[in-house]
């Protein structure tokens, strides 16, 4: 595959996202503190969301014509406008998935924060190595 400048930058961006995924997964697995695990998990979900948005992007149709958001701005749209819209707009599906994922991710993060807080109140530590050794 010949490498063109635009796809080179895109590939660089996607590789960066992969590296970010790995670093945040390392945080979830290796950090002993529950708080740091939660922080790493939010970085992981944000990276996955960014990746989904990048997948929905498209190449510029012409060098002078950038892609447009998937919103029809001419009401009522003519047949020609819908053709042009379909030729220029980015993929709306990843955006629809990500918008709900962000809000639900926030709710789940809040739940994990409550869980961590409750563990800290009961055991006075958020270190999973100490929590694993507790009995009773």
């Amino acid at each position: 595959m010949p490498i063109s400048p635009d796809s080179y930058l895109f590939n660089l961006l996607i590789m960066t996202l992969f590296a970010n995924l790995a670093i945040s997964l390392y945080g979830v697995l290796a950090r002993p503190s529950l708080v740091k695990k939660v922080i790493a998990l939010t970085i992981f979900s944000d990276t996955a969301n960014t990746f989904a948005i990048v997948v929905g992007y498209r190449l510029w149709p012409k060098p002078s014509e950038p892609p447009i958001p998937p919103v029809i701005t001419r009401i009522p749209p003519t047949r020609e406008y819908i053709e042009e819209f379909a030729a220029r707009a980015v993929d709306p599906l990843p955006q629809a998935l990500v918008l709900t994922a962000i809000v639900i991710g926030l709710a789940v993060t809040l739940f994990l924060v409550f869980l961590t807080l409750q563990i800290y109140r009961l055991y006075r530590t958020t270190d999973v190595r100490k929590i694993a050794k507790l009995r009773g």
Partner: protein
């Protein structure tokens, strides 16, 4: 953690990235960046989101993202709302028995008068922006989820700048937020059955979560009322979802703001201890 465990985790992460990168370069993810054409599914969404020539297959909403969220994939969103609802309820359940102590706070409580005045102005602006995001969701980028999350910032700021007692006094209590959130969820549920209820009255076939008339179900919500685009059920869904999301987040923020001593009384001993 032993040194070898760290090494194992680090090596497996490196292998993970290397394999993903390899899969990406050979095209095994089914994706080359950036694609010159869209996937066929995206083309279908873009061509039918507002197409007067093809009304039986169109969502009749100019915003393709909101149309997907509440029309094409409405059932998905309903279950995602259920996940959201369960996460909030689980947080409330973890804090069961913990309540805010009664305490009168004077006007001196909270931050300085400058911060309070600025906050009073910005809270109004935040709520206005949130309403515009949520209620124009069928026309411009935005929708119930985003508008609700934006609206929840206003009580959060009030919580920090004034105090949790001030909010309690102003009527933003845990039980009221629970009620508002349940009202929003109930509204989402009822809107899902709106067209079905209308079809039972008029005696034709219809589906749950239906918005516009479909080939075998010739009944639907009006998409344009008096020249203004209404988006059928999308506007109702957005309003109720914004209410549920805003009240749900406010509820969790209120619980997080309860003083630590009160929570400790319940968690570690006393009359209502776990």
């Amino acid at each position: 953690m032993a040194a070898w465990e760290r090494v194992v985790i680090a090596v497996s992460m490196v292998v993970f990235v290397a394999l993903l990168a390899l899969a990406f370069t050979v095209g095994a993810l089914g994706y080359r960046a950036p694609p010159p054409t869209l996937r066929d599914l995206a083309e279908v969404y873009l061509r039918t989101t507002f197409n007067s020539d093809n009304p039986l297959f169109s969502a009749m909403a100019p915003e393709a993202v909101t149309a997907i969220v509440w029309d094409y994939r409405g059932l998905d969103t309903l279950f995602e709302t259920a996940v959201f609802f369960l996460a909030i309820i689980a947080s409330v359940a973890l804090m069961r028995g913990v309540s805010l102590p009664r305490k009168e706070v004077g006007p001196a409580a909270g931050m300085s008068p400058i911060v309070k005045t600025v906050t009073k102005i910005t809270i109004g602006m935040i709520l206005a922006v949130a309403a515009s995001i949520a209620f124009h969701g069928h026309l411009t980028p935005g929708g119930g989820f985003q508008g609700g999350a934006t609206a929840a910032v206003a009580p959060l700021i009030a919580l920090v700048v004034f105090s949790v007692y001030f909010l309690e006094h102003a009527g933003v209590t845990k039980n009221r937020m629970l009620g508002l959130r349940s009202a929003g969820l109930l509204g989402v549920g009822l809107t899902a059955f709106l067209v079905l209820a209308a079809s039972i009255v008029s005696g034709v076939q219809a589906y749950v979560l239906q918005n516009q008339p479909k080939p075998t179900a010739p009944i639907g919500m009006p998409s344009i009322v008096d020249g203004a685009i209404f988006g059928g059920t999308l506007l109702l869904f957005n309003i109720f979802e914004a209410l549920a999301v805003a009240a749900g987040f406010t509820l969790v923020f209120l619980l997080l703001a309860i003083p630590e001593e009160e929570a400790l009384k319940v968690t570690t001993g006393g009359e209502h201890a776990h």
